[in-house]
């Protein structure tokens, strides 16, 4: 009983309800596509359809996934490269914290959707606009969690390092950074989630390619099946990228998951 894949139960129920909703026409017909129809459209969208070669979506899935994934990777990478060092500085140096932190906390509540017009006005309908939004969105959780991680470094470990002769830089690299690493990974996980949100928003409006663009375009031409297939695709990609970060953290934080056997 325990070994059965119980986690499949909720999705199967959801799928059943969805199918019945369409089949028995609980909503007006034509609004929600049936699961089978979504699956079929998704299949043609990925692998192409010789008989439906007129469809603008046929076989374009991979290209659009790559557009979105590249933007997420670049924006997220930018956020990590800026956010982690800045978070460490804020957590480590009181002066930096006093100068920089209030600005970050004031800007943080501005949703990335609110930055859209600004971003398009400044960067135009180009990749830079999307990268700005994704990077900005992912930056906040990364910088905030890194700061917390650094500040949470155990006083006793700092003292231990000092009495063993460590100076500030050694302490930062060998004690504070590894101690903050779990929090940094939490920031990265939250950040990648925001990055996928941001890429869809950005592609809906600020660029002309990628899953977000397809989603909005399909909605305009009444292809709800493609819309739903896009939603599934984004969910899947978000899930996979989160798992990758978790995997990386398991490797980097192996020392945390070990258990005493002595």
């Amino acid at each position: 009983m325990r070994r059965l894949p119980w986690f499949l139960l909720p999705p199967l129920i959801l799928l059943g309800v969805w199918d019945l909703t369409v089949r028995w026409q609980w909503v007006a017909p034509g609004i929600i596509p049936a699961p089978a129809q979504v699956a079929e459209s998704w299949y043609w969208w990925i692998f192409g359809a010789p008989t439906r070669s007129l469809s603008p979506y046929s076989g374009t899935w991979t290209a659009n996934v790559l557009y979105s994934a590249r933007r997420v990777l670049q924006g997220f990478g930018l956020a990590a490269v800026l956010g982690i060092p800045l978070g460490i500085l804020i957590g480590w140096n009181r002066l930096v914290a006093r100068v920089v932190d209030p600005s970050i906390q004031l800007l943080r509540p501005v949703p990335i959707t609110a930055w859209l017009p600004f971003s398009i006005a400044v960067f135009g309908i180009y990749d830079a606009s999307a990268l700005f939004l994704i990077g900005l969105g992912a930056f906040y959780p990364i910088v905030v969690n890194t700061t917390h991680g650094v500040r949470d470094t155990h006083l006793l470990l700092l003292r231990a390092a000092r009495m063993l002769g460590a100076q500030r830089l050694t302490i930062l690299v060998k004690v504070v950074f590894p101690s903050a690493l779990p929090a940094i990974f939490t920031g990265l996980r939250l950040g990648i989630g925001v990055a996928w949100t941001a890429v869809i928003v950005a592609e809906m409006i600020a660029v002309k390619s990628g899953l977000g663009y397809v989603l909005w375009d399909a909605y305009y031409v009444g292809r709800m099946d493609i819309c739903v297939a896009t939603m599934f695709s984004v969910g899947l990609l978000g899930f996979v990228s989160d798992r990758l970060i978790v995997l990386a953290s398991r490797v980097a934080l192996r020392w945390r998951t070990l258990e005493a056997h002595a």
Binding site: A160, L164, S179, L181, A260, A262
Partner: protein, 240 residues
Amino acid sequence: MLALQSIDFSIAPKEFAAILGPSGCGKSTLLNMVAGFDAPTHGRVLAGGVAVTGPDPRRAVVFQEAALFPWYTVLDNTTFGPKTCGVPAATYLPRVAAVLEQVGLTGFERHYPAELSGGMKQRVAIARVLVMEPEMLLMDEPFGSLDAQTRSVMQELLLSVWERSQQTVLFITHDVEEALLLADSVSVMTARPGRIKKRLTVELPRPRSLDVTMSPVFNELKREVLALIRDESLRVAREG
């Protein structure tokens, strides 16, 4: 709040000095000032005639918690000090192997602290300061969080290690028997504000083992210390 008052205390080179006091008497504060973590508001702390201005590897500390770096293996924790101080690997590696052998951790070099028991962690904490060959060893209730059985094993271990290296030790504890078993002198502290009430010399032959705790001399000293502590508790209760 006033933690310590008018402490006039000195340790001779190669002396094993224990400080005995109730919790909250400021004995850890005293150790932290000698270590250089805290600065006294009045007066000064001298080590080898030089004023203490901050932590120094020559005054190595063993804390109540092992305070190991959880992301480093036993070996990396033990080599942290020598590496940081720029000692060449050829010099410290044999020393590390010898010290790990001494504390009974040979074969555990690649283990992480999370894989070790409390007693073993504390052995690593001792090993990592021993490889520094410090002039002075500061120990802040190092066995306070261990179970009784592990504690006596660790006390014997410390005795054997110390009797070989003969470092100056400042040992903080609230355990009367522990202080008498290990130390050359036991200073009894009063409750807040902490003062040194009396310093006793422990004239027990070395090398010592746990058997010493059965001897009449030991028990005579224990009675004297317990009487001092009782006086103090009564005074606190009257004034409290």
